[in-house]
Structure formats: C-alpha cells, structure tokens
C-alpha cells in the first residue's frame, strides 16, 4: 500500500462528503486510522484494561477473615501460594487434559472434516454442516446434564453395554488407574469424554475449511507420483490441514483450560484450573489469588498461540 501523505489534493467538486472522501482517499493512513480506532479503543481500553486490572489485583493481599481485598500494599504471596504442590497438580492435570482433549478432538474431527470437505456434496453436505453446528446451538448446560445421564452408573451407556453383554469392557476400563473411577460419570475418563464432545464442533469446522482449501490437484499429483491413499494422507493432506488443526486446537485447548462447569458435574472431583480460579474468586472471594492463578492459563495459551502462529493457524481460524 502506498501510505505516503501528500499535500491536500485540489478539491474535486462536490459536497462535504465528497471532500471527506477525497481526503480519505489521498491519505490512506488516516482512513486506516479511522477504521481501526473504534476496535482498538474497545480492545485496548475495555479488554486489555480489564486484563491489566486483573494483573494488578494479583499483587494484592486478602484479609483472611473478612475476605476483603487489601489494596494498600503489594505482595507476591499469591504467586508463592500458586507454587504449592496442590496447585501445581491442578495446572499439570489441566494442561494434560487439555492436550489429551485436543488430540482426541483432532482424531475424531479429522475424518468428519475430511469427508465433509472432499466427498459430501449438495444436500448431504448441508446435512453434515447442520449436524455439526446444531449441538453448538443447543444449550451447553443441558447437553452437559444429558451426558451425566448417559454416563451414570445406571445410565444409558451402561444400560446399552449391559444389553450387549459388554459390561466387562466398561468395568475393565473403569478399573484403569488414573482415568477410571466408580462409574463413567465419576471418572476422569468421563470428564474427558464430555470435554471432547463439547469442543468437537470447534475442531471440525476449521479443519474442514483447511482441507477445502487444499487444491484437488495436489492430491491427484500425489497419487500420480505413486503415493497410496495413506501416504497421500500423511505427506500431503495432514501437513496442509495443520493450520486448521492448530486453529481448532486453540479452541479445544483454551476451552478446556478455562472450563469449570464440566468437571464440576462430571468427574472425580479433582479440580481443574477453571474451577480453582472460579472458586477462589466466585466462591472464596479471593480475587487476588484468582487473578494470580488466571495468569497460568494466560501464559499457557500465550505459549500455545505462539506455536500455533508458527503453524499458520491464524489464517485458518
């Protein structure tokens, strides 16, 4: 773009609007500024301002008995508390879960996205699109409680498995330490399943878009050069869908990192980052500690975004 500024042009005839138009045309920097000022104000002031307010709060202490924030002096006590083993556990657990959910979402989303992008045509494509979008439009909470019912010990899944005489399978799964538990809805496996379910559409759509952008001739070229389907997949499709995966994973990763409702309803009562932050602020009123703790996901996401950007995710979002 040619952004040099030049002397005000000789006015073309016309009203003030036309003159403003002339000015904007010849001074493109000005036009750009006018376009970007409102969003920048909003994001710079409202959003970043809020984040800074949060950051500032992380340096305050709390009067432990009354629960009132003490704004008179700054302290690093919240950051020290964050390093307690229990909190470190929470962070590691959450990040591990977020990664697992992201991987699983990718694995499940990929075939769907691939099929939508390359094979589905006409009404079938529309049908699939709706099928993917519809869950997004039905209340997240109601779906969550529906999962509770599905996963319960006497719920739909065990009922079906019992009918199929496959209960032993479920029991074996639930006996696995680390992921198992008393029933699916009381296990970390259950939390995992529900996370995967909830964020799956957010993974499907960007991957689908990324695959649609791969020119068909590339796949044909691969086949032409002797590659079988699987080679083409791993050497061509998958790398080229990577921006879509990265974009989708920003959602799956970040949503998992921050959610506090799902693990509250489904799971084994071990806490995730979102819950700790929520409890510290909403329940315990310990805003400073919550603020400090919420820096963890900010940092994690920051690192993640940095990697995702390398993979070209922002262009595919």
């Amino acid at each position: 773009m040619n952004t040099m500024t030049l002397p005000v042009p000789m006015a073309s005839t016309g009203g003030p609007l036309r003159r403003l138009s002339d000015l904007l045309y010849t001074r493109r920097g000005l036009a750009l500024g006018l376009l970007l000022v409102p969003p920048l104000l909003w994001f710079g002031v409202v959003y970043l301002g809020s984040l800074f307010a949060l950051l500032a709060n992380s340096f305050f202490g709390l009067d432990e008995f009354s629960g009132v924030v003490d704004r008179t002096q700054l302290t690093l006590v919240n950051f020290r508390d964050m390093l307690q083993p229990a909190n470190v556990d929470v962070v590691l657990r959450t990040v591990a879960m977020a990664l697992a959910v992201t991987v699983a979402c990718t694995a499940i989303a990929f075939p769907i996205a691939y099929y939508m992008a390359r094979y589905a045509r006409g009404p079938q494509k529309a049908l699939l699109y709706i099928a993917v979008m519809l869950p997004l439009w039905s209340s997240y909470l109601v779906r969550l409680y529906a999962w509770k019912l599905l996963l319960a010990k006497e719920g739909a899944i065990s009922w079906v498995l019992a009918e199929l005489h496959l209960s032993w399978l479920l029991e074996a799964l639930l006996a696995t330490p680390g992921i198992g538990g008393n029933s699916l809805s009381f296990s970390r496996l259950g939390t995992f399943i529900v996370f995967v379910y909830m964020w799956l559409p957010f993974m499907i759509l960007p991957i689908q878009a990324a695959i649609e952008r791969i020119p068909g001739s590339l796949l044909e070229a691969s086949g032409d050069l002797g590659a079988k389907g699987s080679t083409t997949f791993w050497k061509v499709i998958f790398p080229l869908a990577m921006p879509g995966i990265a974009a989708g994973s920003i959602f799956t990763f970040s949503f998992t990192l921050g959610d506090y409702i799902i693990p509250q309803v489904i799971g084994d009562s071990t806490l995730f980052i979102g819950q700790v932050v929520y409890r510290q602020q909403g329940v315990a009123g310990n805003i400073p500690f919550a603020a400090a703790f919420s820096l963890v996901p900010i940092v994690v996401i920051g690192v993640y975004l940095w990697i995702a950007k390398k993979l070209g995710a922002f262009d595919a979002l």
Binding site: V68, D89, A152, E154, N182, G282
Partner: protein, 364 residues
C-alpha cells in the same frame, strides 16, 4: 455504624442474596410463594440473587449492590468483621420476640452486644443412607463414610459414599475425630490446632480413596443416589425429602458423633440502598406461614416455633423430622479463624482450609 431508628416509606424494591430455594415466588410450585403477598402488601419488589456457597455470599456482599443476605454461620462472622453488614434494630421488627429463644442471641449473628441479623432457618447435615443396602442395620456412626468397610449388603463402601465438596467439610472430619480419637483434644470442630487439623486432613485423605465424586449441589446428589449407586453420604434433609417423595429407599440419621449444621440469618448490607424495604422483609420473613412453608420446601427448621404447628405443607411432625429437637447435637457452621478460645488462639484459619481441601480433592 448505628442501626436504623425508624422505618420509613418503602423504596419500591429490595435486593437479596439468598440460598437457592430460600425465596420462592411460586414460579415452580404455586403452593410455595412467600414473595407475591409481601410485594403486594409493601410495594417492595423483591430481587433475588442466589449463591451456591457461603463463600460466594461473602464475595457478593463484598462487591456490594445488595440489601440483604441469608448468611450461614460461616459467612456471617466474616461479614461482621469485614463491616459489610450493619447493626439491626430489633425493636423495629415486632416478630423478633417470637423467635426460638435458642436462636435469639446466637453467636453467629449477635456479637459485641449487637444484633447483626435476624435468624431465618436452620438445618443439619445428616447422614443419608440407602435403606435397601443397610436393611435393618442403619448406620450409627459417620465411620461408614470415613473408613473403608463392608456395608451390610456385603460389598465394600468404596466408591459408594460421598462427602461434601467444600472446605467446611473438614469440620465434619474433626467432629468424627472428636469422638473417635479423644486424645487429639478437639473441643470444637471449627477450632483446630495444627495437630488436630493434620489429623482431620489425614482422615480426609483416606476418605478420598472411598469417594468417587464429592457432592456439590443438591440435585446432583439426588441423581447420584438415584443413578450412581451412592448409598451413604452427608446430606441435607432437603435431598432426603425429595428422594423419599419419589419412593427412593433412603433414610436419614444423626450419628452418635453428632452432626454439623447451618443456621442462617438475614443480614443487612452496610450500604443498603433500600433499608426500609429491607426491614419490612425481615419482619415478613418471620411470619409463621412463611417459616413453615419454607421449612417444608427446604427441609429446614423454622426459627419461629409457632411455624411448626398447623402448617399444611410441613405437617405436624415436620419440625421434629428435620431436627428441631437435635439443636444441641449440632455443631453449627462458623468461620475458622486463628483466634479461638478452645486452642489458645492457635487455630488454623479458613483460607488454609480452602487450599488444603483443594489438595485433598486432588489426592494430595
């Protein structure tokens, strides 16, 4: 700050932070409505914000914008200490004298010879159990949820018991230890010195292995007793009532160790914008009809004894069923602080309870 001297004209509305189900206007069940009539009578519109835990109530009050709060004992002292609530002039509340004498000057709302709240309701954290599992051998001790053992149906209790998902539950453990291990010298489950506290946490860590999922909200626990094979847990009478009404095989008991409980008071924000309507509500909140209906609705005990008789919804045995006569056996919720009389002011404060309970849940 001094209390109001007289009630003026209503401001037209009153904002209340309350437990879920505490202030009903007949939206879910027409029989349970104690707001509409009040609004009609006084012209004060009632706005309710529900809070799920005591901590949340404190947080909401600290943020401000409310007139009243139905605070439990573990929240009320913090509100008073934080100067979030103002003294109440009980003379402006004619029904105050009808309140159960045991509650009129209860320590969770009466401090420094000043009233800071009006008792609303109270209840206990009973042991709820499944009667088909326990059959003719109902549990008598909290040990069924704390210690690994075989239940009368021959199967282990592992994975079939629950505990409350809140730091205050440490007190339940202390209560159990008070009886089980007198050598620890626990006098008050909310006042624990370092050693006692450690023992309680140790017990809870053991319990973690038995508990599949901690209960957090009442209806999830109802589901858990229905679908998840949970057979024993600390609970509120409320859940037991609902499960029984659905013909589920449950019963409640107060074990030999006693039980923790909660007693709620309506307290008024220090900067309440609608003090007149607030006073009118506090007066209204003490009428026997409301108290009885609410007790029936919530499974709690009225703070006005008159409510126990003749209430259609509650029934004549309602108060007794819900713990009216067990007042002395209940250790009511209060906020643990370092200042404590029973352990020479060397108690573990609440904020440690919060983070340690998170650790316990995390298996640490």
């Amino acid at each position: 700050q001094t209390a109001l001297k007289q009630i003026g004209k209503g401001e037209g509305q009153v904002d209340i932070v309350a437990w879920p189900g505490y202030i009903e206007r007949g939206q879910t069940d027409k029989n349970f409505d104690w707001v509409t009539e009040f609004e009609k009578k006084t012209g004060c519109k009632v706005n309710v914000k529900t809070a799920g835990t005591s901590d949340e109530m404190v947080a909401l009050m600290n943020e401000g914008g409310f007139d009243l709060v139905t605070a439990s004992g573990d929240a009320s002292m913090r509100l008073i200490a934080g100067k979030r609530v103002q003294p109440i002039n009980v003379d402006l509340i004619p029904s105050y004298k009808n309140i159960d004498p045991r509650l009129q000057k209860a320590p969770w709302h009466y401090a420094n010879n000043t009233h800071y709240g009006v008792p609303y309701q109270w209840g206990w954290n009973v042991l709820m159990y499944n009667t088909t599992v326990f059959k003719d051998k109902p549990p008598t001790s909290w040990n069924v949820v704390f210690e690994e053992m075989n239940l009368p149906d021959g199967k282990s209790n592992k994975g079939r018991v629950q505990a409350f998902d809140g730091p205050i539950y440490i007190a339940d453990a202390a209560l159990y230890l008070m009886k089980k291990n007198p050598a620890l010298g626990i006098k008050d489950p909310y006042e624990l010195n370092e050693a006692q506290y450690k023992a309680a946490l140790e017990l809870l860590r053991g319990q973690r292995k038995l508990v599949g999922k901690y209960w957090h909200d009442a209806f999830v626990q109802i589901d858990d007793f229905t679908n998840e094979g949970v057979v024993a847990s600390s609970s509120w009478q409320f859940m037991a009532n609902i499960l029984k009404s659905k013909n589920r095989p449950v019963a409640t008991v107060v074990p030999v160790e006693g039980a923790t409980g909660w007693a709620d008071s309506t307290m008024m924000h220090a900067e309440a914008k609608n003090p007149n309507c607030a006073y009118m509500w506090m007066e209204h909140s003490l009428n026997p009809k409301l108290q009885g209906d609410l007790a029936a609705w919530f499974g709690s005990v009225p703070s006005v004894p008159a409510a126990c008789k003749g209430n259609k919804l509650l029934g004549d045995d309602g108060c007794a069923r819900q713990g009216y006569n067990s007042f002395e056996r209940i250790s009511f919720w209060k906020t643990p602080t370092t200042k404590c009389t029973t352990q020479n002011n060397a108690c573990v404060p609440y904020h440690k309870w919060v983070s340690d309970y998170i650790a316990v849940l995390g298996g640490r």
